[in-house]
Point group: C2
Chain length 249, copies 2
DNA sequence: ATCGATAACTTGTCAAACAAGTTGACGAGT
DNA sequence: ACTCGTCAACTTGTTTGACAAGTTATCGAT
């Protein structure tokens, strides 16, 4: 009603544990605390930061749930490896809530993996191309072994990502790949899915080896769309997701 | 060296607070607790779950840090709206950890923003297109006011991202936009930079309003490349690149 | 009936204590 | 001299109790 809604964001009252958590994340992101380091004990932290131990514990628990630190009873608290996969883990919860997020996820893969494929066509070394061709050969022979095929598939995407030479995109792509892996497992049981993937891989590799970024992009686009279609079909939810960009308040 | 590494993942000891947190997230994702709902008080929860209040508090704090719940002192604990943007918040922290090369970041922007532009051309509403056109008009008039122009530019990218209708990509793009904002400030002081950006914006909007995904993609591609070139040029000398000090002990 | 003050409730913080687990050092046995 | 078991100190996990700070709902006065 009244234009007073703008005044809401007062709540500038970060609790003590939030301040402690932010302090720690700052120390981590600034490099003063490195991945794998052991943090001071809760008592030391509480003394150093002038707060009680429960406050420190709540902060550490929050960081632990986000995959930033890991506590072992009696053993101390350690910073994790901070690999993007680990930090992206909480997102699987987010994706489990809204169905259209899955659609977003596949669109994102489409966009990002296509960019990676194009870069791979530009930057791949001969060695990497040879590796990819070998993986494609493996793929053709593994269409009857879903488990082995998925292992091959993961390595395929990994090599392509590395060949592209873009750390950031590679990490995002890897996280996206990991987020959908569960649904993927089901999809790979459907008939014809692995054969299609094997053909897609060949197309992608062919474009990369002939240094054709646009072709690689299109081939990867087809690949991701195939994966999306079969994954949604395998989810058996009956809730196909047509593009209905309506958003409810 | 020895193949004993396989034996590590024993740690089948989720702590009490983790169990409580998972219980709550299960209740939320299953729909038993809806967004906006008020949770039982900490005392009630501790009684119901047969754990102490600090355990409940640690669990709630963890969920709060992930953006799943929100506590107000004296007012109770509420489930958030669970919008992807909110749940995506930890991602910006993840991005801030690794120091990616500027090349990687700009290439990532190229890939992601182009995808967003294409989707915007597909999904933008008339209202959003009108808003973008107005922003473009503003841009032409603000080429002599770097600060105001940057505000307009941020809003421009925001509207395009929203128009694309992909929460995931939008958040990644927003994070990328924020990461390079410092360098951008310098670049916008160079002569001709803002004029170029204004022209780029027009091209992008024209493609979007004529529902031309490929055209929008190409226009955005040019835009990002212009930004990259001018930003790299403006960076000669004062480096604002994130730097991670290494220290032992 | 409207408004303000009070009481009950809820979260935030602190303190002290014990249980459970790990680590490192010391000493007995080989 | 080396290995191994034991023990002591430390660290995290959990519980209980208490009080401060803030919110909400009831109730009484105007």
């Amino acid at each position: 009603m009244t234009p007073l809604d703008k005044f809401k964001p007062i709540e500038s009252k970060p609790s003590a544990s939030e301040r402690v958590a932010e302090r720690l994340t700052t120390l981590i992101s600034s490099g003063n605390i490195a991945p794998g380091d052991k943090l001071p004990s809760e008592n030391e932290l509480s003394r150093a930061l002038h707060v009680s131990r429960p406050v420190v514990r709540e902060a550490l628990r929050g960081l632990a749930m986000m995959g930033i630190v890991e506590s072992r009873q009696g053993g101390g608290c350690y910073v994790t490896d901070l690999k993007p996969n680990r930090l992206m883990a909480p997102l699987s919860f987010a994706l489990s809530l809204q169905d259209y997020s899955l659609e977003s996820l596949f669109r994102a893969r489409e966009v990002i993996d296509c960019g990676i494929a194009a870069d791979a066509a530009r930057n791949a070394t001969g060695e990497q191309i040879a590796m990819l061709e070998e993986l494609a050969d493996q793929g053709r022979k593994l269409v009857d072994d879903p488990v082995a095929f998925r292992v091959m598939d993961a390595e395929f995407h990994e090599v392509v990502g590395k060949a592209a030479g873009n750390d950031f995109l590679d990490n995002v792509a890897r996280s996206l790949y990991g987020l959908a892996i569960d649904q993927r497992r089901k999809a790979s049981a459907l008939p014809g899915v692995l054969e299609q993937s094997a053909r897609d891989h060949e197309q992608i590799i062919r474009a990369i080896s002939r240094r054709d970024p646009e072709g690689a992009r299109l081939a990867m686009n087809d690949h991701v769309r195939h994966i999306r279609d079969t994954t949604l079909k395998a989810m058996e939810g009956g809730e196909t997701i047509p593009f209905r960009p309506r958003e409810g308040g």
